[in-house]
Amino acid sequence: MNRAEELEAFLDRTPFAQYLGLRCEIMGDEMTTVLPFQDKFIGNAAIKALHGGCTGAFLELTAMAQVFLQSELSRPPKPINITIDYLRSAKGEDLYARAIVHKLGRRMASVRAEAWQAEREKPVAALQAHFLVAENG
């Protein structure tokens, strides 16, 4: 199995990724994740906006998957901390995200991810995260 297949196999057997219905499109070491909209993702029913915690979970999974894709890890990297900036209200529509690994060290990885909907240039949220990538961590 190549790295992309290993990532897909891992996501296939991760209950929370299945619960979200997360999909990923992998081209070499580049990946775009897709979160097809479901009614349960709503946070504010009055304005039909996605829950911040849903966007956050999606970004965290995206960042985690990107680290996995670019590393030799056999298990998912463990999050140390994350910061999410909410930039715009996310509508009740599909979400897309991409992550960039700024630094992949022996123990830590620093990652930035952005989620958008209709326009790539108008992200709805951005995430900065640190992960533990040491196998014995």
């Binding site: 299945q18 709503i42 946070g43 999050p79």
Partner: protein, 172 residues
Amino acid sequence: MSNEDDKDALLYELMRKNAPKIMNNVPWAKALGFELTGIERGRAFAKVAWREDLVGDPDSGVIHGGVLTALLDNLCGVAANTALREPKSMATLDLRIDYMRPAEKGRDILAEAECYHLTRNVAFTHAWAYHETREKVIATAAGAFALNDISKWASGNEAVEYARKMMGESSS
């Protein structure tokens, strides 16, 4: 008691009375099984039970961090709401989560949030997720919420009506 105090107490009482329903009105909180277990002025408490479909690491059975993100985000928002002196609409500006230790398989996660400062435009909050007591902390959060004045489009009784709707109470 002045009129201001009356309105102030009314809002908080409205939240207290509707506490069990608050999370149920948020589809994502309901889907993940969040339960609001109590509120005080500026504080909120919640619980989420371990569930197979929320697991992020199939080998260890640890709940995915994203579930904690949603829980602490939501709870910080509720805590900020209990601190408000007038109904305002609220949106998360940013949220930082520090993961201290993984949540243990099969165990309930408890959480509490505190709104420790409030300005006209921003509510500052902290939150903790843990097993049993805060000594066994799983994650901590710091969240800032942007507050939007709704008095321009809803004044007096309308504002209280908006608050009622937010809490899923039908107008009487």
